[in-house]
């Protein structure tokens, strides 16, 4: 029995998971939600490295796969190294080194997720807290455009609406929960107040709340985004009356009309609420270490996503150096996709662009990206079969454990293998030229 393992599924990084291991296999998982449990128990894996030959993926050795991957990256003028959300920071470090080495662009899944949140934070900063602070203090919680009941199943019990802490001994009973969304989600069913807004009206609704909080309600129209002014005034009053308030937000606001401007506005609302009471705000990060790649990239390059290393010095300009922009403009000529399924999650035109360039995939699982990959390298699952560091949605670093052995190498080891092959092939080429 392994106690207090960290679940490597979502940005909650629940660290109270007990796992029964027997004969080198996971037999039983306790405390985890269904999503986490399914990941830790394990399912359908890629078994061997593969290289595409005559249109078909054929089994190959790891070394052959590393060499082919290195060859593709070296031949490319501007390769994209994309993904990184479901692997360790140790792998991210090697990935950044590889991007520097081959002169590529490194981007994470944040680009199709909380990338707009990052840009909002660049505009306004992030008034936040660790999740335990919310658990111990928050008497008012707003979930905006997110649905933890289905996407982060243990969030409410461990950290937010239903958790108990020092100043919140009554748990759910002592809290006011407001859910803002375009549809009545399962999270909304647990709310004291569900506010249904018209799709794409987040910016207007937040603006109205800012006016009401600032005491300038006279400029607010009678109806904003399908919500009555009276309702909005009621919400604004609830927010101001909080002793400690917290806003959690998700993709419903980052990828609806307004995008990063919505986040900019929400961050401003929270900053202003601090003139009246205590308020914090936090993005509901999806993949378990999408926060970690942002942290590692920031301390290594100065920027948290979409970093272009083709010029020697790191360069960042979202809209220019983000994965989807590059692919839509067909501005990259090879891609390494690691710990993410780009084909399933990218807009159609960008996914199509991937089909026209050589793709290297590093992943434990087969997914639609596998279908168009030139090289496929299976890896151990971090947090189950490999150790490593991950950053929770609140920025807290935790060490993931290895629960069982795997014959497969970790992402980190694979990247080191590719790096070594890059060095080897460069040396070979230099010798040939000499």
């Amino acid at each position: 029995m392994i106690k207090d393992a960290v679940c490597s599924f979502c940005g909650c990084l629940c660290d109270d998971i007990n796992v029964e291991v027997e004969g080198g296999m996971v037999k039983r998982v306790r405390h985890a939600c269904r999503l986490g449990s399914s990941k830790i128990m394990g399912h359908g894996r890629i078994e061997s490295p593969m290289i595409r030959k005559e249109g078909k993926l054929a089994a190959a050795s790891f070394q052959e796969a590393y060499d082919r991957a290195a060859q593709i990256l070296l031949a490319a003028a501007k390769p994209l190294l994309y993904g990184w959300a479901s692997t360790s920071c140790e792998a991210a470090k090697k990935g950044i080194l590889l991007a520097e080495e081959v002169g590529g662009v490194l981007d994470s899944t944040a680009t199709v997720c909380h990338g707009p949140s990052v840009i909002g934070i660049e505009e306004k900063g992030l008034p936040g807290a660790t999740l335990g602070q919310v658990k111990n203090r928050a008497d008012t919680i707003v979930f905006w455009g997110c649905n933890p009941a289905e996407a982060h199943p243990r969030h409410s019990l461990r950290y937010s609406s239903n958790s108990c802490g020092r100043f919140t001994p009554q748990g759910r009973e002592g809290r006011k929960i407001i859910v803002v969304d375009v549809r009545e989600t399962r999270t909304a069913k647990n709310a004291d107040k569900f506010v249904r807004i018209a799709p794409g009206s987040d910016y207007e609704v937040i603006s109205a709340l800012r006016m009401l909080v600032a005491g300038k309600g006279d400029v607010v129209p009678e109806d904003v985004g399908g919500v009555s002014k009276a309702d909005l005034a009621d919400i604004a009053a609830t927010l101001k009356a909080a002793r400690f308030g917290a806003v959690f937000f998700g993709l419903g606001i980052t990828h609806s009309r307004g995008r990063y401007k919505n986040i900019d506005n929400a961050l401003s609302l929270v900053a202003e609420l601090n003139s009246h009471t205590k308020f914090v705000i936090m993005p509901m990060r999806g993949h378990y270490n999408v926060g970690g790649i942002g942290q590692v990239l920031a301390w290594s390059s100065g920027y948290p996503m979409s970093v272009d290393f083709t010029r020697g010095g790191p360069y960042f300009n979202p809209g220019e150096t983000a994965a989807c922009d590059l692919l839509a403009r067909r501005d990259v000529d090879a891609a390494l996709i690691i710990a993410a399924d780009a084909v399933s999650n990218f807009p159609r035109a960008t996914a199509e662009a991937l089909a026209d360039i050589p793709v290297i995939q590093i992943d434990p699982y087969e997914n639609p990206t596998t279908q168009l990959s030139e090289v496929v390298i299976p890896c151990a699952v971090v947090g189950v079969e490999a150790e490593g560091t991950a950053y929770r949605m609140d920025g807290l670093a935790l060490r993931l454990r290895k629960l069982v052995d795997s014959i497969l190498p970790s992402d980190e080891e694979i990247l080191v293998g590719i790096l070594e092959s890059v060095h080897k092939q460069r040396l070979l080429r230099a010798n040939e030229e000499a």
Partner: protein, 567 residues
């Protein structure tokens, strides 16, 4: 390695500009050695620089980077055969930190504030900083367990917790920031003075400071408590500084060092009742330091231009954000701390900023004993550390100060006494304030000097101390200090005239203090309850694992632990 013919300033060993050869073998200073010769004939030679207070790693530094892509763009340098790429000015990336310190002749820097809960992140970044040796001070000032031990007057349990916390954080010393204020900020409030009770905890900042100072001495830690006062950055706060210092004057030190090190004194030496009548109280503070021997300080010098303020004093950052209408990040850390980050620009025509600039210099010039004052900018709060040469030249040249003063807000001469200070520091003073004193204050025995057994960290500058007139030739001095002719770290030539030649990993110092098992046992009952009820993670996942410190240097301290008691 032999450093030949330099003019050596090694004040810890009584050398004040003597021409001599230095020898390094296996990374340490020795009496005799062979090998590579470095020609330092006639040049200024000092031990490698030591920065005892700088924000170089961890969550708040990375938050600064993430919210400031504008800053990252200011310092881009491409990758080289030796170096990873550099970015940033006030919040450089990890690699730039190592290279830029090394270029200036600095070989050691300590991160000034890390919450235990987030220490893993700090060590991830420290490990990525090349070349320099480092350590991280651990935050205890608004910690629930600390406040409860203080409330219960259970000093031995408090000492056990400090030892446990340092071990969990792989921390080097006890940092206290706006004691109690971090807890009050949990509900958006603050403490207003050292006797203002902390809400819900029935203790005062004064009691927290006293308790932690006593525990620090009980544990015989190499460093004293490292204190960021209450009311930092506010007009009239010099009284809080004096009251706090006076609290501590009768505590007996466990080692030959101060009882308290005051962080960035400049930000706590203000008079006036508001920003309108804001003025310097540096002379009063300096007088206190001249009359007492239990306290040391670092300047926290402010320079004009861009900075990023970052501190565990979260209410202060909220105030900065409201004052400047700038972007604001805040980060509360459950059961332990709060913190904030706000970008800032300091202007020479803005009276408050100009007075702040003068206050830092006044402190360093009016305190007579250079062993009590460290040269810092509280990087990146007052200015980024790359501007240290500017600060040094201001301290060495009255004419430079006068020229600067002439460009400032016209009220500055009325609000400060800087214009009347004739003192110009010499190379001995500078070697103390940037090398010998920070090492002694931190309790780093092998740093800050060049005696046999010391670390082989040497900086050699393209300056002839016997010829250069530091008072007049300040431009020349500044240029020479910005890029050492040679920087030697652990016997390796790492930098030459601004070019990085090698980037070996540096070590990370942390303090492992022993305490009686019985005290730890009593403590663990409290901690297990806290983790079960209040923390959002399990106690088993809390402490920093050794994997994060592959180049650790453990310093032992603690109580003389008796032999195992018979049950």
């Amino acid at each position: 390695m032999i450093v030949k013919g330099g003019i050596v300033y090694d004040p810890a060993n009584g050398l004040y500009g003597e021409e001599m050869d230095l020898f390094i073998d296996q990374g340490r200073m020795v009496e005799q050695a062979k090998g590579e010769e470095i020609d330092a004939r006639g040049l200024l030679v000092m031990p490698g620089g030591v920065d005892a207070h700088s924000h170089i790693a961890g969550k708040k530094v990375n938050t600064g980077r993430i919210m400031r892509p504008d800053d990252a763009r200011q310092g881009t340098e491409p990758r080289t055969a030796v170096c990873r790429p550099s970015t940033g000015y006030t919040v450089p990336n990890c690699y730039a930190m190592g290279y830029r310190y090394a270029r200036m002749g600095y070989t050691t820097a300590f991160e000034a504030a890390t919450p235990i809960l987030e220490a893993r992140h700090t060590h991830e970044e420290l490990e990525e900083i090349p070349i320099i040796d480092k350590g991280a001070l651990t935050l205890f000032g608004s910690n629930w367990q600390v406040m409860e031990c203080v409330r219960d007057k259970d000093l031995s349990k408090l000492a056990a917790y400090v030892a446990w916390g340092l071990r969990a954080a792989r921390g080097y010393g006890v940092k206290i920031v706006n004691p109690g204020g971090g807890e009050a900020w949990g509900f958006g409030a603050n403490v207003k003075g050292i006797n203002d009770p902390v809400p819900n905890f029935d203790v005062t900042p004064a009691e927290i400071i006293m308790g932690l100072a006593q525990a620090n001495e009980m544990l015989n830690l190499p460093h004293s408590i490292h204190l960021h006062f209450n009311n930092v950055g506010k007009p009239g706060n010099y009284t809080t500084a004096l009251e706090t210092l006076d609290l501590l004057k009768d505590i007996k030190p466990s080692r030959m060092r101060q009882i308290v090190h005051v962080a960035h004194m400049q930000f706590s030496a203000y008079g006036g009742t508001s920003w309108r009548d804001f003025e310097s109280k540096a002379p009063v503070i300096a007088d206190y330091f001249n009359c007492h021997n239990h306290a040391t300080m670092d300047m926290g010098q402010l320079l004009f231009g861009s900075a990023t303020t970052m501190t565990a004093d979260a209410p202060l950052e909220y105030g900065n954000a409201r004052l400047t209408h700038n972007k604001w990040s805040n980060h509360d850390i459950e059961l332990e701390e709060s913190s904030g980050v706000v970008p800032m620009v300091y202007f020479r025509k803005m009276l408050v900023n100009a007075v702040q600039w003068a206050v830092g210099l006044e402190l360093a010039l009016l305190v007579k004993d250079p062993w009590k004052v460290l040269m810092t900018t509280d990087h990146p709060n007052g200015s980024p550390f790359v501007n240290y040469p500017e600060v040094v030249t201001l301290l060495m040249s009255k004419s430079k100060r006068d020229a600067e003063m002439a460009t400032l807000h016209e009220q500055v001469p009325k609000r400060t006494v800087l214009g009347g200070i004739e003192r110009e520091l010499d190379w001995t003073d500078i070697a103390i304030m940037t090398r010998a004193a920070p090492a002694r204050i931190l309790g780093l025995e092998d740093k800050g000097h060049l005696g046999p057994g010391a670390d082989g960290d040497v900086s050699i500058y393209n300056l002839r101390p016997e010829e250069v007139d530091t008072s007049q030739d300040h431009a020349l001095v500044k240029k020479a200090l910005a890029n050492a002719k040679y920087t030697i770290k652990g016997g390796v030539l790492v930098s030459k005239e601004g070019r990085i030649l090698a980037a070996p990993p540096g070590r990370t110092f942390w303090v492992d203090a022993a305490v009686p098992q019985a005290d730890t046992d009593r403590l663990m009952i409290d901690l297990e309850e806290k983790f079960a009820k209040y923390y959002s993670i399990q106690i088993a996942n809390y402490a920093v694992q050794d994997a994060y410190l592959p180049h650790a240097k453990v310093i032992r301290a603690g109580l003389p632990v008796p032999l195992q008691e018979v049950a």
